[in-house]
């Protein structure tokens, strides 16, 4: 049982902390359980059961597990979008009671706004933070280039492919520069080539920016390539089945180091654990 804290995280607790001096928040998930009650039928679904998990400050944690095991529910509880029926989440000791810009989310459903262009979707967090236009445009331009969205700045989401929409969603969250980044299968619809580019870029950014990152994926290779640690969840009701340390430090990961036998063995172990649950 963690200490109960009197401070709470709601809206906008952390002002834009400049990269460099940032210290990603430490997330503590304590005895988290969640039941959904179907509005129509009254049927109860136990999505999570007694999940205890610590995401260290600046850690990159990846989460794998069968479909419907409660990964998104866990992420939403950390984001403050789901109020758990049991247990609690805290961020740097402050109990999470609602969403806030210190914890950015890339949603599984993307959630970019159909009525905003690519540029204005990416800029949205910066507009809310009232960042001056010039700086805003610079940052947006940087992410447009990074995500390979050049030439589509003024397109609306319905004019983009699925993979492009995902990149806009990722860019929007990154551009807002949150302290903690929660990503729910952000690269699922991206083509294999772009996916590798984005993974490498994410790895690079995360090592310099010191964010705390939670990254959900169905792809075990992706999970082991990106994570400091990999969480494997059980079938519903979701519990933590295993928590594994990746044998190679994040900063040393390249396509070459991934070919090393200990890395291959690690990947195989995670795969094995995932298979047991499907």
């Amino acid at each position: 049982m963690a200490r109960k804290s009197t401070t709470t995280v709601g809206k906008d607790t952390s002002r834009a902390d400049k990269a460099g001096q940032r210290q990603g928040a430490r997330i503590l998930v304590d005895g988290l359980s969640h039941k959904f009650v179907d509005q129509q039928t009254g049927e109860v679904v136990q999505a999570l059961e007694q999940v205890d998990l610590t995401i260290e400050s600046g850690e990159f944690l990846t989460v794998v597990g069968p479909s419907g095991c409660g990964k998104t529910t866990l992420l939403n509880a950390i984001a403050g979008l789901v109020h758990p029926t049991g247990g609690e989440v805290s961020s740097d000791g402050a109990v999470v009671r609602g969403p806030g810009r210190d914890r950015g989310v890339v949603f599984q459903e993307l959630a970019i706004l159909p009525w905003r262009t690519v540029r204005r979707n990416i800029a949205h967090g910066l507009e809310i933070q009232k960042i001056p236009r010039k700086e805003r445009e610079e940052r947006v331009g940087y992410y447009v280039d990074l995500m390979g969205l050049s030439g589509f700045e003024n397109a609306y989401p319905h004019q983009l492919s699925g993979g492009m929409k995902q990149r806009v969603a990722v860019a929007r969250t990154w551009a807002a520069d949150p302290n903690v980044i929660l990503m729910d299968e952000p690269f699922a619809a991206v083509d294999a080539q772009t996916r590798i580019t984005l993974q490498e870029e994410l790895l690079r950014i995360s090592t310099v920016s010191n964010n705390t990152i939670m990254f959900i994926t169905h792809n075990v290779d992706e999970a082991v390539f990106l994570g400091d640690r990999v969480v494997v969840m059980t079938r519903r009701p979701g519990r933590i089945k295993a928590l594994l340390d990746c044998p190679i430090p994040r900063s040393e990961r390249t396509v070459d180091t991934m070919a090393r036998p200990e890395f291959a063995a690690f990947t195989e172990r995670v795969l094995q654990l995932v298979r047991e649950e499907v």
Binding site: F107, A111, H124, G125
Partner: protein, 260 residues
């Protein structure tokens, strides 16, 4: 949307066909059955009546009066109805509480409350204004509210995680997300408002197109009556084309959203 196989310009002009048919039937009935001018004016008679009314300055005066009343009523209905609808739509509890209430008033037409208004405010401009506002307001509130309910909640969640407060959510999510519905509400509201306005003018008698049509019955001037009716319908089509269609084209169509 099913655009068919016809080229665009042809499609755009197809709306003329039913009008042509009904005018054709009219001409045939009038001349083949030798209907007298007292029972039915001919198209030519209607045109002549419209020309005379315009020449005397009656038509421009009454039309501008009616349009002015409609404009005031519609702008007020939008200015009051959209914010109320947005606020009600944000909460499921509010929707449960107010939906039947709004439906109730939607079914009590503006014409039905006219007697009450005449008792309260007499045969005045105020009576007419309240009838239009009442009639246009309810569909605007109702459709705005239901429009907000159809927006995927993940959009406002996303804004909250970007640090957006309630005002950001209303401005960046609810308003644009409900716009398709709001336009439907405005369309209905202005349409109903236009009808209520004409009825109100007939009863209240303070000028306007409705009054003009009603007044013509005293002289059995069927040309004038029918001319008034045609102008009524034509004006509504023009308002719809000039005011509401451009809003849709500039927003909903551009965003790739379906019209509800």
């Amino acid at each position: 949307m099913n655009s068919g196989r016809l080229p665009r310009p042809v499609l755009a002009l197809l709306f003329v066909v039913p009008f042509a048919v009904i005018i054709g039937v009219w001409v045939v009935v009038k001349h083949a059955l030798h209907v007298s001018d007292d029972a039915l004016a001919s198209p030519a008679g209607v045109l002549a009546a419209a020309r005379d009314l315009t020449g005397w300055g009656i038509l421009p005066f009454d039309v501008s009066r009616s349009l002015y009343r409609l404009a005031i009523g519609s702008v007020l209905a939008a200015a009051i109805g959209i914010p109320i609808g947005l606020l009600l739509g944000t909460s499921r509890t509010c929707v449960a509480m107010f939906a039947p209430f709004l439906r109730f008033f939607q079914s009590v037409s503006g014409i039905a409350i006219l007697p009450l208004l005449i008792v309260w405010f007499g045969f005045t401009e105020k009576t007419i204004q309240i009838v239009i506002l009442y009639t246009a307001l309810v569909p605007v509130i109702f459709n705005t509210m239901t429009g907000v309910r159809t927006i995927p909640p993940v959009y406002s969640d996303a804004l909250a995680t970007l640090g957006g407060g309630r005002l950001h959510v209303i401005r960046s999510v609810y308003l644009p997300g409900a716009l398709a519905s709001i336009v439907v509400g405005l369309r209905l509201g202005i349409g109903y408002g236009w009808r209520a306005l004409i009825a109100g003018e007939m009863l209240v008698g303070a000028g306007g197109l409705g009054f003009m049509i009603f007044d013509a019955r005293r002289f059995h001037d069927l040309g004038q009556i029918i001319a008034g009716m045609v102008i009524l319908g034509a004006l509504y089509l023009v308002i719809d084309r000039l005011v509401l269609a451009p809003i849709e084209a500039a927003t909903i169509a551009r965003w790739g959203l379906e019209r509800t």
